[in-house]
Symmetry: C2
Subunit: 466 residues, 2 copies
């Protein structure tokens, strides 16, 4: 009766989206009699939504527990042994084992594996500047960061916050702290916030930030952090000024956390992430990886990219887990879709912006259209801008950007699916999108933009024949 | 100097979406020295949004003028001669002329054409029942209908309304009249409203209607209309009851208005619409057609369909106009996308439902998922249901249906674009859709549904191999 296979052990490093998705999928396909699953996570929480941190800090969500999708007890009920405050400190691929430190107790031990899943996530980029490690300078990566920042803006009574870096998280945190009544400044080396947008679209986001009272210092390098005698951050120094700060939030982005993998000789690629195949296998035997610590393929540029996003981490973890469970699944890559909401402004982008397209060797044409989210006569219609970047001659869609108000941003999904399928602007003009006055003008903004882009391709051919 | 071409004349029958789009596009490409454009429209308005009528009746939009995109004067400024209250009553293709009646003045005249554009739209289906033409029984097709119904529910003081037929317009009108404080009943021969949805999804819409106080009488044929001595409608008789009515709104759908074309020998097809090629040329020389009066190809079933929607009419009109102007454009067909909002409930569908798929010869699998529109912890997250219909074995997406609240329905665009590109459920699981807590759970409902559908295809293969 029963199979005679030896019971194998899957060891997962990292208990957030990618790691727990992999564990859950592997468990669905292989029972506890066949596969033991151990997850080590160095933090206090597993299976949480890091993307929810700005909403917790801003008070939109008050219960930290709501950001946790599943507790360790829930995983235990599924025969997944999740150990919090256990940090993997060394991988020994030849020996098939991982050295694990008990973060609170301090002891270390070796845990063996038959299959290893690396899901170490990403770590905030910290500037190598004096004072960058001072107390009061926060990254935004794990739930513990959210707890610390919320405490700082709440009971600790911070009044002045400086956000360094104008990426999604930086902007969302700026908004959250404005909502809590702080004076918020944002410093960025670039001339615009949100560099994943083209400058013309980024300028709209900058206007929105100023509109809610965020002071923007753009094109200013941060040169250091002043600290008070007790070691707390007191100010941010830029090339042009000193900004007093009770609190600093780093929004310089994150990079794949690959130190552990690199030290074990597991291949890390040109985009800075662990290299995997489309089934999420690394180049090292019996070792898999998924989530923010890996790089993947950009389906438009064809280039490797590391894009830290919970949605990719979940998908990749699921794919790894299905394969680890004996099934077959693949993660084909990404098209670079992202959405964000800064106060009432919705922002979305997908594919390549002009700079990225040029870097990938494309010659492009761009169009931007102003239109409304609903029929102009319908209450609640708001303005939105839609920009498309298409390849010259072929007219192939390369990317799209949207800045608008309610109901604008999610239209990026349509652009992302069009990109995924290699559609041209001309083909897109025929798309059968949902129309009714509460949802769209009779020409959806996506269709208007596609028409303009198709016209631009035709005009370019006439102007530059041959 | 100048071209020596003879000045041609484009005659357009019908001044709404298709006709005016064609006229405008033709004018953009050919100046008034080359092409004269005459449009005859029998109604009081041109270039209006019939889809906006329920919002005008419900008081969401108070100014009728807002439903009119452009006035005759604006068209005159573009050298488009638009004549309201002028009705085409006969087409003479051999003679290249159309007989036009002055609706108010009563005279008739022949207008010649070099190119004829038929954009006669659709006409409400009227039951052939006693009293169906009584005063107080309204179709919902042109702006004048909206004016009449608004007057009836407003100053005329109607208290009890009966809507006959549970399609989009019927439901939107039911909601509009509830908003105006009327007692509203809805009668439908079918067992569910909105037959473009499967019964399980249609039941959710029925619940929403009951929730706002609409009385539903489903599965009941209308047998006639009682009239008062002055000839006004007084009640609707069904097989089971008599419903007193101060006002009846017909929501039985519309059919292509093809009488004029048919009488002239212009081909009408099996779906009841004028047959055109993809450039919108009819089978009769120099005669074009676009909008609700034509049939087109359903890109999933491959079958001819007549789907009356402003968005198709605009696209087809534009295509015809570009071709009439000497350019090249095509209308490839539709995938059957539609969205609607009934009170707080958003409804969307695209592709084929189970019944339609079976009729087209497909064997299908269906999945329905319940999920939220935003991250579960984000305020404003509401529940939505997403249903996918996929082909057995291939897993190809055939259709999708969504019922939910705010921010649910427009996700149908993603399904429509996936359909357009022939994607399978398995391919869709990898799609890079926009994720951030205010916009979506980390697994967008579309992705969850795609996963379930892919699982169902796999399970079906196991259960029914070979």
């Amino acid at each position: 009766m029963g199979k005679t296979t030896k019971r194998e052990r899957l060891l997962v490093i990292g208990g957030d989206a990618a790691g727990m998705s992999a564990a859950s999928q592997a468990r669905r396909r292989r029972g506890a009699d066949e596969l033991e699953i151990l997850v080590v996570e160095r933090g206090h929480h597993a299976s949480y939504s890091a993307c929810g941190i700005p909403y917790y800090v801003g008070g939109v969500v008050d219960d930290l527990g709501k950001l946790v999708a599943r507790t360790p007890a829930e995983f235990r009920d599924r025969d997944i042994d999740l150990r919090l405050r256990n940090e993997a400190v060394e991988i020994d691929p030849a020996g098939g084992r991982v050295r694990v430190r008990d973060v609170d107790g301090g002891g270390e031990r070796w845990e063996h594996y038959d299959h290893l899943m690396i899901a170490t996530g990403a770590e905030p980029v910290r500037p190598r500047l004096p004072g960058a490690d001072a107390e009061g300078v926060h990254g935004v990566q794990i739930l513990d960061d959210g707890v610390a920042i919320r405490r700082a803006v709440g009971e600790a009574g911070a009044r002045r916050a400086v956000v360094v870096g104008g990426g999604y998280i930086g902007l969302e945190m700026a908004e959250a702290m404005v909502m809590r009544g702080l004076e918020v400044s944002l410093v960025d080396l670039a001339e615009q916030p949100m560099r994943t947008l083209d400058p013309d679209m980024g300028a709209l986001v900058a206007d929105a930030l100023r509109g809610v009272g965020v002071k923007l210092y753009l094109g200013e390098p941060v040169e250091g952090f002043d600290t008070s005698p007790d070691g707390r951050v007191a100010a941010v120094r830029t090339g042009s000024r000193t900004l007093p700060a009770d609190l600093v939030v780093l929004g310089l982005g994150v990079r794949p956390a690959t130190a552990l993998a690199e030290a074990a000789g597991i291949e890390v690629g040109s985009a800075g992430g662990i290299v995997t195949d489309r089934r999420m296998r690394t180049r090292t035997e019996r070792v898999w990886a998924a989530g923010d610590c890996v790089q993947t393929r950009h389906l438009v540029s064809g280039l490797p990219v590391a894009i830290p996003l919970g949605t990719h981490a979940n998908k990749q973890g699921r794919v790894a887990g299905i394969n680890l469970g004996g099934g077959y699944a693949t993660f084909p890559g990404v098209v670079g879709t992202a959405v964000s909401k800064i106060c009432d402004v919705e922002v979305a982008r997908t594919g390549l912006n002009e700079r990225e397209a040029a870097a990938a060797g494309f010659e492009t044409l761009s169009v931007t259209v102003r239109s409304t989210t609903r029929a102009g006569y319908h209450p609640g219609a708001t303005e939105m801008r839609t920009k498309l970047v298409v390849e010259r001659r072929s007219g192939r869609l390369l990317g799209g950007q949207i800045v608008g108000e309610a109901n604008a941003a999610k239209r990026v999904d349509g652009l992302a699916i069009a990109l995924w399928n290699g559609m041209t602007a001309e083909e897109m003009t025929g798309l059968d999108l949902g129309y009714a006055p509460p949802f769209s003008p009779v020409w959806d903004p996506v269709l208007i933009a596609a028409r303009k882009a198709a016209d631009a391709v035709e005009a370019d051919m006439r102007a530059h024949p041959g």
